[in-house]
Symmetry: C2
Subunit: 339 residues, 2 copies
């Protein structure tokens, strides 16, 4: 394939803050990836096979990246961040595997997820293995502070996932409940990933807390934006699949706000679509029209921007290091990205 | 209800070694149960509701009992064994919840398990919560040795469960694979539960290892006996449900040995029944007849007795304490029980 004037040169600077961080921390990320591949091994072949399906697929590696960036920002000189980044990614992967388990009575999702390829039982058990392996790695590292942070995060994530189950298909879900769900299931691990970097650098409590606050707000902003993109992405960039949350009746911020303003007919529409009483092909564009009518996609992004501001404020409590600017760019990108 | 000469008086000594251990360690067990109830709480109501379904149902509490007995045998005087017994039971409960998750493509089991009542997703996520909570409690306790033992056990359990998935419905399963499965999925946690008691008592490595060896052999003997009872229990005591393993095509020791000796017609029978190509109502008694023909139930118990002997031998490495005799009685009871 010939290069055109519009094609990116190999040496061009990465175009977004996430890719710039990846480039900056490349040697660390390679070490983390090697550790992940090495420590997901087991003499039971199905384990690396299934785990590899998810892990080798790549993904953004944003959580381990946060641990690496945090350690680097605090000038940490050792290599503990590699193992602990792998821990964070294993916990995330276990969560993904368990999150995808389909209720036997409800098989509407048609994705080629690990559970679809290998079965629910295998996906659950390999998730358990990765989760246990993560704690084995933390024990090898030997810090009770890290073990406390990541065991707390794991418990909070599970609570958030259970709460999300209770709010799905429930039209009465409040904005406060939505925020509790995303704070728990997403932001808590972002916060922990950041905090761990500060802990191993031996920083004072205030800086550990500031780094944690940054991660928490990044996670919230990131998840709100994700929930907006599940409705709006196709408008901005082709190829992104949209409508998954709608199909599953997930009560996300744009929908909660549109329901709060709905008239009787609209409420009937949401009731039919979100509570699983059957959706028609035209329903998604109808839903999108209602979100536009009440401007709730933009209002949700405004909310996400508010959390991004809080995250940027938290960064001011950290040492003045070039990575601080990268983390600031990242939190803005988390909100403004179009994919 | 009047007491007859045959009814048990309230004050009579418990009739079996397990009940005798329970009676002996009653105050400790009550403390553990209180901790379990307290620490399975969450502000997300579904979590204690679902966890309580399994935990409040009671169960034998044999694993926490082992930690309590081990600590007491070594003369440990503190209270750390209560929290760590709760950890062990939480890990076991999480495993049970995940073990019961039904593959969407295979809903043959008809039990009223937690996943049947609350759905697969909830059972998985509450299992994750209990698992995380267990590690939180270990961190509170603060021993990296305990964390190492129980995170290793958790990883090995998950590996055993995955291996069991691969051997189910597989007529080629070997005795070595069967032993690896039960060693991992059952005996490893028995071993860890015992070892933890020795660790908190600060005993030398040889005694910790001896206590661990006892638990490992107890777990193996217990599981082989369990697998025999799944075919033989009804003959000994009415009311015990049998045949679950057969219905699920689980390759347990009595079946593996009968298949090894099967003629062509019998092999066809096992092939049809164990690989899920459909079972008839009369198949279970046919299977039982084949196990009797080759005497594999008794041969399996002989194997279990061999492990019990190894466990008893391990006990000789422990301090001379009355509990040592109770543990010896328990391992014999694990094999010879009829329910």
């Amino acid at each position: 394939m010939k290069t055109s004037p519009h094609s990116k040169a190999q040496s061009a600077a990465p175009e977004n803050p996430l890719d710039r961080l990846v480039a900056l921390l490349k040697p660390d990320l390679l070490a983390v990836n090697a550790l992940i591949l090495q420590r997901m091994q087991s003499e039971i072949p199905l384990i690396p096979e299934l785990a590899g399906h998810l892990i080798a697929a790549g993904g953004k590696r944003i959580r381990p990246l946060l641990t690496l960036a945090s350690a680097a920002l605090f000038g940490y000189q050792g290599t503990r961040q590699h193992k602990l980044s792998a821990c964070v990614e294993f916990i995330h992967t276990a969560t993904l595997l368990h999150d995808d388990v389909v209720d036997a009575s409800d098989q509407r999702r048609g994705r080629s997820s690990a559970n679809a390829l290998f079965g629910n039982e295998a996906a659950v058990l390999v998730g358990d293995f990765l989760f246990s392996r993560s704690f084995q790695l933390m024990v090898e590292d030997g810090s009770l502070d890290v073990l406390r942070i990541l065991s707390n995060a794991s418990a909070v994530i599970a609570e958030g996932e259970v709460l999300q189950l209770s709010t799905a298909n429930n039209l009465e879900t409040t904005e406060a409940q939505y925020l509790q769900v995303i704070r728990s299931k997403t932001a808590e691990l972002f916060a922990a990933a950041c905090e761990v970097g500060a802990i191993i650098a031996g920083r004072p409590a205030a800086e550990c807390q500031a780094m944690r606050d940054y991660g928490m707000n990044l996670g919230i902003a990131f998840q709100i934006s994700d929930d907006v993109l599940d409705y709006a992405a196709s408008e901005k960039r082709l190829g992104k699949s949209v409508g998954d949350d709608f199909k599953e009746g997930k009560m996300t911020l744009p929908v909660i706000r549109a329901i709060a303003k709905a008239n009787a007919a609209e409420r009937n529409f949401w009731n039919r679509c979100m509570t699983g009483s059957g959706q028609k092909d035209t329903d998604f564009s109808e839903a999108l029209a209602l979100l536009r009518k009440y401007n709730t996609l933009e209002a949700s992004l405004t909310e996400a921007r508010r959390y991004a501001e809080l995250g940027i404020k938290a960064l001011t409590g950290l040492p003045n290091h070039p990575l601080r600017q990268h983390l600031q760019d990242l939190i803005i990108f988390a909100v403004e990205r179009d994919y």
